[in-house]
Symmetry: C2
Subunit: 278 residues, 2 copies
């Protein structure tokens, strides 16, 4: 089995190192890439080749780990070169971009206007035909430096990637619908960011009254021993990144308005407003 990486930053080099130490051949392209990427590749056992076309045609699994902004361009540029391999996007893109990207990897390739790519259309198609679609969307949950990092996957052929668990990785297949991973990342963030906002408000008042330590103490009794440590890290991270988190909540609200029309999304709106007040 050969695994090709498009982009060779921290995520790709981590995964490539795990796979190659478990006997899997990995390949990447680093020409015209940054010094940092070249350095990471030289330090790895990854085979460096010259052509993305060859990488796509020759790999059983292609992993794209770049940036959300570049993800679609890359998929669009290379989708036609895919052989029978599976293309995994790890770029933290929105559910809508995922649906559009999935359409690019359908065989035979169909030209679909972006506004027609949607989860609903995907469900409809599934009922029409037995889709052959090489696209899988994935996300790393937790820290990429966890040994091994956990990767969640969704897509028509996501099941086939369970084989990677035999080679040192930790993958979990969540569904056959591409985009479900992207959706779950947003739903997960509604919870985690909402909890952060609730923590901020409770502990700001506790601090004013000089009861911060006592509040940690009594909440730890029912919320678990690591509550204090976990909450302090949540708070620190949120205060330090409140501006970026406002943008993320805006994207989440846009998503909710689309999938769950007419509802008010009270807590999500409040979480955004709370972050926005710093």
């Amino acid at each position: 089995m050969i695994v090709g990486f498009i982009g060779f930053g921290q995520v790709s080099s981590t995964l490539s190192n795990i796979l190659s130490s478990n006997g899997i051949q990995t390949v990447t392209v680093v020409k015209d890439r940054s010094q940092k990427t070249n350095k990471l590749a030289v330090k790895s056992d990854v085979r460096i080749i010259d052509s993305y076309e060859a990488l796509l045609l020759g790999s059983d699994i292609v992993i794209s780990a770049n940036s959300p902004a570049n993800a679609l361009n890359i998929a669009d540029k290379y989708a036609d070169y895919m052989g029978d391999g599976i293309y995994v996007d790890l770029n933290n893109i929105s559910p809508n971009t995922t649906y559009y990207m999935a359409d690019l990897f359908e065989k035979p390739r169909r030209i679909v206007p972006q506004e027609e790519s949607s989860r609903l259309n995907f469900f409809k198609k599934k009922n029409d035909v037995d889709i052959r679609n090489n696209f899988v969307d994935g996300a790393i949950i937790g820290n990429v430096s966890n040994k091994p990092p956990l990767i969640i996957l969704s897509g028509v052929r996501a099941n086939e990637l369970a084989i990677l668990n035999n080679y040192g990785l930790n993958v979990k297949v969540l569904s056959k619908i591409p985009g479900d991973v992207a959706t779950l990342k947003i739903l997960r963030s509604l919870y985690t960011k909402g909890v952060s906002a609730v923590l901020m408000e409770a502990f700001e008042t506790a601090k004013e009254m000089d009861l911060e330590e006592q509040l940690f103490e009594i909440l730890s009794i029912t919320e678990g021993e690591n509550f204090e440590e976990k909450s302090k890290s949540r708070l620190k991270n949120t205060y330090a990144n409140s501006k970026r988190k406002v943008e993320e909540m805006d994207e989440a609200l846009e998503f909710l308005d689309e999938v769950s029309k007419g509802k008010k999304h009270i807590m999500t709106k409040a979480t955004k407003d709370k972050f926005d007040s710093y």
Copy 2:
């Protein structure tokens, strides 16, 4: 040591049974009380006496476990009979009621208009004189049927109650200011109820998209193994009691407006609105 109980429902009978099985004499009064109270007292080792006055004068510790509505009447009626014992209120009263109640137990008794009883005044007084105050406010955290239940305490003489840990109870002294326990119960509920509201919103959307189980799965990875069980119990409890929880959030908002004037309390307001939408 003698511990007297005013009111002998589930809380008092549980505590009395633990204490008497550890060699402590407990007493209560059951005349004019309900059949249920009488039955609980008969089934316990508690000594049944006729007079509240005798109970207050003769007990080293007096525990009032009745209802929030009756708590103040009882304290007002019996405060003057207190000897050198400590009076513990376990009735889940508001911080303001606690400050007022604490004033009733100051020696010599001062007549203080209720609107002048406040945490700030208490701090001021503390700086003026070495207060002699027999009042301690307490709350049971978690379930009273936990063996032993955890009781948190605050008050000038709360420290002295640590001795109860030698007789089978589990008490934790949080501060020397009466009312801090009542305040911490509210602050705690800002967190726990806020988390419930955030859970509701995230899982309602997940359910609509048929991704409920997957969302539990990926959140459990970072939030802990018992996340699913705990969250389902939180959700069930919240949907079943949303009306009462709206009232509790109203009280919490009133409290926040008082102690933290001019702030917006975005998450607390949203939590109330979320509960109110059912």
